[in-house]
């Protein structure tokens, strides 16, 4: 491997043995990373593999629990983004870090305006001229005085890249490091090509870390690739001559340790159809799709971010409006675009952002569990606190929620237990179809197993489910059937009943 | 524990005997009690001063109960006062709110205390139900509006012929409505005076200034600016001064605040009507005392004289100097022989 490194390249930034733990999860486990001068490094991994956490440690938003960072051979500590940028390291995140109401010029120089001051007054003319100079190599034609909110996603990225470069230039970094976190997800094809053109030019004076899960573009444009899986290094190799399939294998991993997903508890679905989707479509989000979900069946929607699966689920749950087609649940059609109608019809939704959408964090466990069934807990027309307590206790026991008491606030529970509270809420309400959006995101292995156990239990009781998981193994393991979505279309259906499970490698080919 | 209980008992005993001493010294003398809403404004401060002056003249003790805008405090203070005097007292009340009158009336009825009420009472409460309630009195807002309008009309280049603008108070307020009715009455009486426009300024000096300034731009040739009170008249005078009309076009007011007297003297305000709270205090107390001493038979008072309106003191340029010197700055001796000397109308 040594031979593939050009002699002129030196290691600019190195991270060594980085470990970072969050409550219940080890996000990074002794990860190492080398960034060399004048290269584009591809950093790939599935969701939750630790790419973002690693980025945040490199630019000082998080501190590592263990491990060291070396910059040009000297050990350094990154104290926040402004410290990192002074050392020549900056990141451009998906969510962006430009202030929308300020102009391009103002954003470029925010907090570094000293050069443009004359008797304490900003010289707008000089600022604009400098901004134009910086944006020249970025190949974009924008009005530097326009507010950033009016720019396209591509232009915003360019502005951010220009800012990182300008700041490192200003602080005298000879070879700045620019980390781009999934920059291509928001770009169309021609914008993506432009981005890579620019990155290839920039390589002459900077190093770029390119984070993406689109293997094709990584392999085409990066010099080297680092694969992360479950918070650990898997590999670090040059891309020259590398095949996508090889990387796919690395991404997915081989370690199927026993029966992780309780496949032996999986049953064949019942005959009756619980949910019928007919020609449902939403312009710009997904093309019309049709499929059935049977009683007790688990359907897994597989596809990348942007494949349209999230939007599809939101439409089924009544959170968004769809344009064409229909949703039928147990023979009735809830009014479209009404989450209330969906809930009354028997459709439950467990969102990915459970802390924000799924749970009233300040209310007690009992309040959350009883939320949907208050009508049934009435005695003589009034809500009975005795019935409330009984109901909550029953479901806490049933779902094994670990909580100090049913009166404790949900905010104090671990992620896994919060998830179990949400699940009990839906189960107790007699839900017929449950949409689970990344049900095991951010919870530890033990809690994951309990969530799997609950999912199996629901299926046994006849509840139909649509799931979207963090990893393909999880999708394959849990589901009876897999529906594959790519570029806003439903492109295939794969049987995943016990004994007929496809391999992740087969699946990823369809997905990517 | 025991010690504390003993101490408490001792203190209580002391307090009882002390109050006994006070009572015995005051028991033979009737206490004059005034109940007001607070001492932070000149109106109520004068109320208390009037009561004290009367007490001094008659050699009777005076107690001032200030509710500070709190109805409950008002009731508690009254209860304590009844206990303290053993009911040997007369009361003059400016109730905190109109509904408060009922509990006050019941309390005083039970204690057999004669009293007079001012300004506010619920309309459906009749004095005849309460034999110890000597009178309910208020100043006549309609008369105030009327008087000040007629005085204003006199100051026109051609007296009683010309045009005016009018600045109203808070539109929902009873006094504002009454005073405006008085203005209408005057306008009917003097058909040569035209009201070209009126605006509301919510009793606020600054708002009155702003509105007047605009109205003067639209109607630069008005002969007078009628105002519902003195506070707004200050703003109107400022606006007139800026327009170069001070002293040529006059305004008027009601209340009798010091600035209004200055303006009348300086010739920028025609008149005001002074509501003398010292007189109010003395009149009410004297009436109640008379009832208590049997000199006034409450049952025999006609309904028109049980609940009635009185006129305030008219202040114009003619009497302002002497009025301020002899009445405002010193405590005048009021003629309290005829309780109904300022009677203008019955309250229905």
């Amino acid at each position: 491997m040594e031979t593939t490194i050009s002699r002129t390249q030196t290691v600019v930034l190195a991270a060594e043995g980085i470990t970072r733990r969050f409550p219940g999860v080890t996000a990074l486990d002794h990860v190492s990373l080398e960034i060399r001068s004048n290269e584009i490094l591809g950093l790939v991994g599935e969701n939750g593999a630790g790419k973002s956490v690693l980025t945040k440690i490199l630019i000082g938003i998080y501190q590592a629990d263990e491990g060291r960072i070396w910059l040009n051979g000297n050990e350094v500590v990154m104290n926040g983004t402004s410290d990192a940028i002074q050392k020549g390291i900056g990141a451009v995140f998906q969510e962006g870090s430009l202030i929308p109401n300020l102009s391009v010029t103002e954003n470029l120089f925010l907090c570094h305006e000293a050069d443009f001051l004359q008797y304490g007054v900003l010289s707008k003319r000089r600022m604009a001229a400098e901004a134009r100079r910086l944006l020249l190599p970025m190949n974009i034609d924008i009005d530097v005085d326009a507010p950033v909110a009016s720019l396209s996603a591509a232009a915003k990225q360019m502005v951010e890249i220009a800012r990182v470069l300008w700041l490192s230039e200003k602080y005298g970094a000879s070879n700045p490091v620019v980390i781009l976190d999934e920059p291509t997800t928001v770009l169309n094809d021609s914008e993506r090509d432009t981005l890579f053109d620019i990155l290839n030019k920039l390589k002459r004076r900077a190093s770029i870390v390119f984070i993406s899960h689109r293997l094709q573009e990584v392999l085409e444009n990066c010099d080297r690739i680092v694969v992360l899986k479950d918070g650990q290094n898997v590999t670090d190799m040059p891309t020259a001559g590398l095949q996508i399939s090889e990387v796919e294998k690395l991404l997915v991993g081989h370690d199927f340790s026993g029966d992780r997903f309780r496949e032996n508890e999986q049953l064949a679905p019942n005959e009756p159809v619980t949910l019928k989707i007919e020609q449902m479509g939403k312009a710009g989000a997904f093309e019309p799709v049709s499929f059935d979900v049977h009683e007790g069946e688990i359907i897994s929607l597989v596809g990348l971010v942007g494949s349209g699966k999230e939007e599809l689920c939101r439409c089924i749950a009544g959170l968004d409006q769809y344009d064409t087609g229909s949703v039928t649940i147990d023979g009735t059609r809830p009014r479209k675009g009404s989450s209330r109608a969906a809930v009354l019809g028997g459709i439950g939704h467990v969102p990915i952002e459970r802390r924000e959408e799924g749970l009233a964090l300040n209310l007690s466990v009992a309040d959350n569990i009883n939320y949907l069934v208050l009508d049934k807990l009435k005695w003589a027309g009034l809500i009975s606190s005795r019935l409330e307590k009984e109901h909550a206790r029953r479901w806490v026991a049933e779902c094994l929620v670990k909580t100090p008491s049913i009166g404790s606030a949900c905010a104090g529970l671990s992620g896994g237990n919060q998830q179990k509270v949400i699940l009990s809420k839906w189960l107790s309400s007699g839900v017929r179809l449950l949409i689970l959006d990344h049900p095991t995101r951010g919870i530890d292995i033990g809690a994951k197993d309990e969530v799997y156990r609950l999912i199996r239990k629901f299926a046994k009781s006849g509840i139909a489910m649509i799931i979207m998981c963090d990893t393909l193994e999880e999708d394959i393991g849990l589901a009876n059937r897999l529906l594959v979505m790519r570029e806003r279309r439903l492109i295939g259906e794969i049987d995943a009943s016990p004994g007929h499970k496809p391999s992740p490698q087969e699946l990823i080919k369809l997905v990517v | 524990m025991k010690k504390t209980r003993f101490l408490v008992a001792l203190l209580a005993g002391l307090a009882v005997s002390l109050s006994g001493v006070v009572q015995s010294s005051a028991a033979d003398k009737t206490t004059l009690v005034v109940m007001i809403r607070g001492l932070d404004n000149p109106y109520h401060a004068n109320y208390a001063a009037g009561a004290k002056a009367l007490g001094q003249a008659l050699g009777l003790p005076v107690d001032v109960l200030s509710s500070e805008g709190n109805s409950q405090k008002q009731f508690a203070d009254l209860k304590a006062e009844i206990a303290k005097t053993g009911g040997n007292m007369v009361v003059n009340v400016d109730p905190n709110e109109a509904p408060d009158v009922v509990p006050i009336a019941k309390m005083l009825e039970d204690a057999g205390v004669y009293w007079v009420n001012w300004w506010n009472k619920p309309d459906d409460v009749k004095l005849q139900t309460y034999p110890h309630w000597v009178g309910h009195i208020a100043f006549d807002a309609v008369e105030q509006g009327y008087f000040n309008a007629t005085e204003l009309f006199k100051t026109f280049k051609t007296p009683n012929k010309g045009s005016i603008i009018a600045i109203q108070g808070m539109l929902s307020n009873n006094a504002a409505i009454g005073r405006f009715q008085g203005l209408q009455k005057a306008l009917k009486e003097f058909p040569d005076v035209k009201l070209v426009q009126w605006e509301a300024a919510d009793w606020d000096t600054n708002k009155a200034y702003e509105v007047t300034k605009q109205l003067l731009a639209a109607h630069p040739d008005v002969d007078g600016v009628w105002s519902a009170n003195d506070n707004m008249a200050i703003g109107i005078v400022a606006a007139l001064k800026e327009a170069g009309l001070a002293g040529k076009v006059l305004t008027c007011g009601t209340d009798g605040i010091p600035d209004a007297f200055d303006a009348i003297e300086a010739g920028s305000q025609a008149s005001t009507e002074f509501m003398d709270s010292r007189y109010q205090a003395q009149l009410g107390l004297t009436m109640a005392l008379a009832a208590k001493d049997g000199k006034l038979d409450v049952k025999a008072i006609s309904p028109e004289h049980r609940a009635f309106l009185i006129a305030g003191t008219h202040v114009t340029r003619d009497n302002v100097k002497t009025f301020v010197a002899e009445t405002v700055k010193v405590m005048p001796t009021y003629d309290l022989k005829d309780f109904y000397s300022k009677w203008v109308a019955a309250i229905k």
């Binding site: 926040g80 983004t81 402004s82 870090s97 430009l98 202030i99 929308p100 109401n101 300020l102 103002e106 925010l110 907090c111 305006e113 001051l117 304490g120 007054v121 900003l122 707008k124 | 932070d40 404004n41 000149p42 109203q168 539109l171 426009q197 009126w198 605006e199 509301a200 919510d202 606020d204 000096t205 600054n206 708002k207 200034y209 702003e210 509105v211 300034k213 605009q214 109205l215 003067l216 731009a217 639209a218 630069p220 506070n231 200050i234 703003g235 400022a238 800026e242 605040i257 010091p258 600035d259 200055d262």
Partner: protein, 343 residues
């Protein structure tokens, strides 16, 4: 013929507000510029010119409007700063009341022997600034929402003013400032010149100084601004302190214009000033609009109220019209995407 024509013209205005025109209007107003405000101002003037048969365009009336707009414009130039940073300042009335009482008691008056002369101007500004500083410190250091902090502070200051003032009406006996306010060496009353100068200075500060731009950064995205190195707390405190200074100046002018000072001087000011700021296009979610917007908002509102007085619109309806204008202005300028929930 003419009245009929003017009627149809007047009716065309509300009509054009419907349909896609609303979208167009929204786009105008969302820009931080003042195009929309200029057009609104011209429209309001034009409508009332028809309604009052040109009375509102008389020289005397224009003078009146300009001098009446002056004090609210100065107050709005202060208050809008706190809205630009994404907060709000409801302490206006309390601050003005306290400053007014101090101005009254420190100038030559009948009640005490004080006479600080023209020093009353900087003193008034300083007292206002101190009130704003305290508000800003409470808001940032104790992390209390500005809405609650300033509402509380307003009552505290008003209470203090009433306590010191004891319901007296303090007549000022030094009329130098009053004379200055109304002199017209430049053709319009000095007070209007002062207001214009202040609006320009504040606008310049917002546009051309670092701190000024940071106000907008904080209003645009506070968390991001902090992350990029803006000293957010300092910027916020400054906004409240400058606002306080301008309330102090407003109080000095208000009291001297009237020639009397009381604790009631500030009452009835908050609503028109907030309305003016909103009408001017300063977004209540922060980050958009400057002193020029506050100035135009004040002008629009003053012209509107003046027009209603000139047309002798029923006084009962006039207050309601202002309420409608406030809600309409906010509806057009509020960026609801920024708020998860409207509370």
């Amino acid at each position: 013929m003419r009245p009929a024509a003017s009627n149809t013209d007047a009716m065309r205005v509300p009509k054009s507000m419907s349909g896609t025109a609303v979208e167009v209007t929204k786009r105008w107003l969302r820009r931080s510029g003042i195009v929309a405000q200029l057009i609104s101002l011209v429209l309001v003037i034009a409508v009332f010119a028809l309604g009052t048969e040109g009375k509102n365009l008389s020289g005397a009336n224009i003078q009146v409007v300009l001098s009446l707009a002056a004090i609210p414009a100065i107050l709005a130039a202060g208050l809008h700063l706190t809205i630009v940073i994404g907060g709000i300042d409801l302490s206006l009335q309390g601050t003005v009341a306290l400053c007014a009482v101090f101005v009254g008691l420190l100038s030559r008056n009948k009640f005490n022997g004080n006479d600080v002369g023209l020093w009353v101007v900087p003193i008034g500004i300083a007292i206002g600034g101190a009130c704003g500083l305290v508000t800003g410190l409470l808001h940032t250091k104790l992390r209390i929402p500005s809405f609650i902090t300033t509402l509380g502070i307003s009552w505290v200051l008003y209470g203090l003013a009433v306590y010191i003032n004891r319901a007296m009406i303090i007549s000022l006996q030094d009329d130098r400032i009053q004379t200055f306010i109304n002199d017209k060496p430049l053709g319009i009353a000095n007070i209007a010149v002062v207001a214009l100068a202040i609006a320009l200075i504040v606008q310049f500060f917002e546009d051309r100084t670092r701190t000024g731009r940071y106000l907008y950064a904080v209003g645009g995205d506070e968390a991001l601004a902090k992350q990029l190195g803006v000293k957010v707390d300092r910027v916020k405190i400054l906004a409240f302190a400058v606002a306080g200074c301008l309330y102090g100046l407003g109080a000095v002018l208000l009291v001297n214009r009237m020639g009397t000072a009381t604790s009631r001087a500030g009452l009835n000011l908050l609503f028109p000033v907030i309305t003016a700021v909103a009408v001017g296009g300063v977004s209540l979610t922060g980050g958009l609009g400057g002193a020029k917007n506050a100035l135009f908002g004040t002008l629009i509102l003053t012209v509107l109220n003046n027009g209603m007085v000139l047309m002798a619109v029923n006084p009962y309806a006039q207050t309601a019209v202002n309420g409608v204008v406030l809600i309409a202005a906010v509806a057009l300028t509020l960026d609801r995407k920024k708020l998860g929930f409207i509370k």
